[in-house]
């Protein structure tokens, strides 16, 4: 009985490995440029989560950018809980690896180009971007502001 169980587990694991092995690692440019070629196929896509996690009932939309384009990813909302940072001015978003089915024109989502994720993995954590204050710029700004305000005052006084 144990031998049969082990046999089935081995076979099942083999199928899983084989199926993930058939997925191709792609970039957003490859997906947009060769959308027909990848349509309905399983792909591996990596990039930074940008903007917002938009919850839609049990599912959610995230947008993942690899630097060239951002692609919409449709996934179960529970999966998005792995994401800590999303890319904005103040944050570098988490870098994620998505395995999912690519749709050139998704029939479920009004013809959008998207990926329906089967799995998501955070491969690099995001962080808050630290920026040093530009004190030299601030000084120039204050001087220019004083000069500009003086001229504005002259205009006001002379009623020009």
């Amino acid at each position: 009985m144990v031998a049969i169980k082990t046999f089935f587990i081995t076979i099942f694991t083999g199928i899983l490995i084989a199926s993930s092995g058939s997925a191709m690692q792609v970039t957003s440019t490859e997906l947009v440029d060769n959308a027909k070629e990848y349509d309905k196929k399983e792909v591996i896509y990596s990039g930074e989560v940008i903007g917002d996690i938009m919850k839609r009932d049990e599912y959610a939309w995230i947008n993942v950018s690899d630097g060239d384009n951002a692609i919409g990813i449709w996934l179960p909302y529970e999966e998005t809980k792995k994401i800590e940072f999303t890319g904005q001015y103040r944050y570098k978003g988490d870098i994620v690896k998505i395995i999912g089915i690519f749709n050139r024109a998704c029939p479920e989502h009004g013809g959008d180009l998207d990926i329906h994720a089967k799995s998501i993995e955070v491969i690099e954590n995001g962080y808050e971007i630290k920026r040093n204050i530009n004190f030299y710029g601030l000084l120039i700004g204050i001087i220019l502001f004083i000069v500009a305000m003086t001229l504005t005052l002259i205009i006001y006084r002379k009623k020009l």
Partner: protein
């Protein structure tokens, strides 16, 4: 006239007023960046605001005696066109200093694209751009849609006899009220009211599609500004596709359709003259061209099996065609998908829609529905003339706020501007081809720049040749001001130089 010091001072004085307005409004992105603790961006806006006020104030002080001088037609035209040019350079300073652009030329390109409500962009890494810069980008397109001169007339230039000439120089010739300053105020009153309502509606929608409260508010405000101004800017690289929401698409579409209407029509409707909506020649003309071109575009998409079903074909085809027709430029697909997937039939429909454009005296660009309507009526008048006996005197009318008898001068003026647009479109297309882009792509991008649309097939990007960027900047500027004021400026500079050289 050219070279006359007094006249240069008249022009300089009013340009100074416009420039000062551009300086004052930079307090809004400055405050935004302070609220969101974007300290370096607030420093950028402090510097650029001060530079802009400095330039404007110096112009006013040095040309101050011209305050009570009479403004001629040529002055009005030159004030309008040069204000836009100088405004472009000064408003590009915060863009460039923010570090979001590869060069100062790219910054100027995006400012002109915003002013002219085009929506083509060269900004880099938009998804990480600060709230302050995003506020400035969308404010520029909102301001450009209503008109920079309109803003100056509303707040800084009071009781000037030549105000109307500056107003016309900005390609707005409808007087909603007897006084042009009151007209400018009415335009801002209409736009401001829609701003409040539109932002609230988009804010609520953004919240229900899963965005946090503060970000959905900012996105709502910015997307409204871009939609109403038929500008096409958005705070994310994916444009409207970012939201993955039918409701967001429907609301933005309603907003940019309303935004593309003539301000005179808005004013008539606000004064309970609702029948004007169905009777107005521009609405009739746009309804016909939009319906016909939508049918062609969707038929093209179905023929090439671009989308899996009719609903998807309609959703994408209709949205993008109307986005092009109203010269908005909001996108729900990737730029390259136009070229790779859409096929020539649908692309042709979108190119034509972009060239026709929205209404006269609106935020939209293109030939304008009014001119298309007049040309259409004129065409049928000529056919009737051929068919009917000479003894019959026919009087043709068109309805635009009131009934107007169709005269040859209407037809001539409409044809002249349409020909100027076609010539500009051809220059832009030739520019694209000469840099090695395919004809369809070059024509598409040129139509987008000429019609101040903003849909892109992928040519407009930071890596494109600088010469092509300059060509597109010129096209966007000249087309938005409907050529006359830019031609007046070029002529003025040309004769001014010639006179100087001959001395």
């Amino acid at each position: 006239m050219p070279g006359n010091a007094d006249e240069i001072k008249i022009i300089g004085y009013y340009i100074g007023k416009v420039i000062n307005i551009l300086g004052i409004i930079q307090t809004i992105p400055l405050i935004t960046s302070l609220i969101y603790r974007e300290w370096n961006i607030s420093i950028v806006f402090l510097i650029s605001m001060s530079i802009t006020l400095l330039v404007g104030s110096l112009l006013i002080i040095s040309c101050g005696f011209a305050k009570r001088k009479k403004i001629g037609w040529s002055h009005g035209m030159i004030i309008a066109s040069f204000s836009w040019f100088l405004g472009m350079i000064l408003c590009a300073v915060p863009y460039y200093l923010s570090g979001s652009y590869g060069s100062f030329l790219d910054s100027c390109f995006d400012v002109m694209s915003g002013f002219t409500t085009t929506g083509l962009v060269l900004i880099q890494d938009l998804d990480h751009v600060s709230n302050g810069v995003n506020m400035w980008r969308h404010m520029l397109t909102y301001l450009g849609g209503q008109g920079m001169i309109v803003l100056a007339l509303t707040f800084l230039v009071k009781g000037t006899s030549g105000s109307y000439r500056m107003y016309v120089g900005e390609a707005k010739d409808e007087q909603l009220l007897p006084n042009v300053v009151s007209t400018s105020k009415a335009i801002w009153y209409i736009s401001g009211s829609y701003l409040v309502v539109g932002t609230i509606v988009l804010w609520i929608t953004g919240f229900f599609i899963g965005m946090p409260v503060d970000r959905s508010f900012l996105h709502a405000l910015w997307v409204f500004m871009a939609a109403w101004s038929t500008g096409g800017f958005a705070p994310q690289t994916q444009n409207i596709l970012y939201y993955h929401s039918l409701s967001y698409e429907v609301i933005t579409m309603i907003l940019f359709i309303i935004g593309s209407f003539n301000f005179a029509l808005h004013y008539a409707v606000w004064n309970k003259n609702r029948r004007e909506i169905t009777r107005n020649i521009e609405i009739q003309s746009m309804s016909i061209t939009a319906t016909a071109l939508t049918i062609v575009a969707i038929a093209g998409l179905i023929k090439f099996n671009v989308y899996p079903n009719f609903i998807a074909s309609f959703r994408k085809g209709f949205y993008l065609l109307i986005s092009g027709h109203t010269t908005t430029g909001f996108m729900t697909i990737y730029a390259k998908q136009f070229f790779n997937e859409w096929g020539n039939v649908a692309l042709f429909a979108v190119i034509i829609a972009m060239l026709i454009g929205g209404s006269a005296c609106s935020t939209a660009g293109g030939f304008k529905g009014l001119r298309m309507g007049i040309i259409f009526k004129g065409f049928f008048r000529e056919i009737k003339r051929i068919i009917l006996p000479d003894s019959i005197i026919q009087i043709d009318k068109f309805h635009h706020i009131g009934d107007i008898v169709l005269e040859d001068r209407h037809l001539r003026s409409a044809m002249l501007i349409v020909l100027a647009y076609i010539a500009t479109f051809m220059i832009g297309t030739f520019g694209g081809i000469s840099f090695g882009y395919p004809l369809t792509s070059a024509a598409f991008e040129a139509a987008s720049a000429t019609g101040n649309v903003g849909l892109s097939i992928g040519i407009t990007q930071p890596q494109m040749p600088n010469t092509l960027k300059i060509i597109y900047i010129f096209i966007m500027w000249a087309a938005r001001l409907e050529f006359m004021s830019v031609l007046a400026l070029v002529t003025y500079l040309f004769f001014g130089m010639r006179k100087k050289w001959s001395r």
